[in-house]
């Protein structure tokens, strides 16, 4: 019954969802290690539901950054989801409730799997199946990680602080495979090292973000 583009879309969706969900365990464990309780951790996975922003919240909360810079950093990291939503709008189609749920499930992976398909039906299936499977898996694994993390004690003993660093690097890696983004990453990294000792907690990340925007505008001027 099912055509092969649809079958390819289903298998890609489930593969991506399994991999991403698994790493929800590390998010849950790191969140409680950063000082969040079980429900605070779970609310992030249920409602924010965007890995980069969620990691930013717990990473900055652990450094004692003020609420405003946590909200700003998480919000800025979430900007790309808004752009994904625009691209997914025609894939999702009309209907208020359908679009509301689609909005919640619009993340890196659901968008990437949908875009990778060529047939409209395969695109739709890719978007919904990836988004839905990750929502269920990510939340279940976050809960498991949060419970496990509470039992672990000092997170440093288990290298969980290093795991968080590696998680951010893993999110960054696919985005710095060409020269301009790699240069932006390097500048942002240097600015952060220089500002961490002097600026209040939470501010270095925002200064780096501002520098990123300036670099984007400068590149724009050179190559309009």
């Amino acid at each position: 019954m099912t055509s092969s583009p649809v079958r390819a879309s289903v298998s890609m969706s489930l593969g991506v969802a399994a991999a991403v969900s698994l790493y929800g365990i590390s998010f849950g464990a790191l969140a409680v290690a950063s000082g969040l309780d079980f429900w605070q951790t779970q609310v992030l996975s249920l409602f924010m539901f965007s890995g980069g922003s969620q990691f930013a919240v717990i990473g900055l909360a652990a450094t004692g950054a003020p609420g405003l810079s946590i909200v700003t950093a998480a919000g800025l990291l979430g900007v790309r989801n808004g752009l994904y939503a625009v691209r997914m709008s025609s894939v999702v189609g009309p209907g208020f409730w359908k679009r509301l749920l689609a909005g919640h499930w619009t993340i890196d992976e659901s968008t990437a799997v949908a875009i990778a398909q060529t047939e409209p039906r395969a695109q739709r299936i890719g978007f919904w199946l990836t988004g839905g499977a990750i929502f269920v898996g990510w939340n279940a694994m976050t809960a498991a990680g949060a419970i496990l993390g509470d039992a672990l004690g000092d997170p440093r003993t288990w290298g969980l602080d290093a795991a968080a660093a590696a998680a951010f690097l893993g999110l960054l890696w696919p985005r710095i495979q060409s020269r301009h983004p790699a240069a932006v990453a390097a500048v942002a990294a240097v600015i952060t090292v220089l500002t961490v000792p002097t600026a209040p907690a939470g501010l270095p990340v925002l200064i780096a973000a501002a520098a990123g925007i300036v670099m984007a505008l400068l590149a724009e001027r050179r190559h309009p």
Partner: protein
């Protein structure tokens, strides 16, 4: 702002951004400049978070087991290891270095 307030507001902002995308006319957000700024912004933020998470302890720069773990993580990413393997190996490297007393 309490941690709970921060979490709820940040969640509302991130979720709201996604929903907003379904209201914006495609012509506005598909503009190449908007796309590029968003890409660069994401890269700058993530790079800064990598650094904060690797060498910052409060407002001090501290070199410890996390650096070694990050280097191993980068090598694994280079050879296209799956994300979960990268994260777990980085944790293991830091944990082992600390148990052996080779790094703080």
């Amino acid at each position: 702002m309490t941690l709970w307030t921060t979490i709820l507001i940040a969640s509302a902002v991130v979720l709201g951004t996604k929903l907003l995308g379904y209201l914006v006319p495609a012509s506005v957000a598909a503009h190449p400049r908007i796309q590029r700024i968003s890409d660069v912004l994401t890269v700058a933020l993530l790079a800064s978070l990598v650094v904060t998470q690797t060498v910052a302890t409060g407002s001090a720069i501290v070199v410890d087991a996390r650096i070694a773990a990050l280097v191993v993580g980068a090598v694994l990413l280079r050879i296209r290891a799956p994300f979960i393997i990268v994260v777990l190996t980085a944790a293991a490297v830091a944990a082992v270095l600390r148990v052996l007393g080779w790094a703080a």
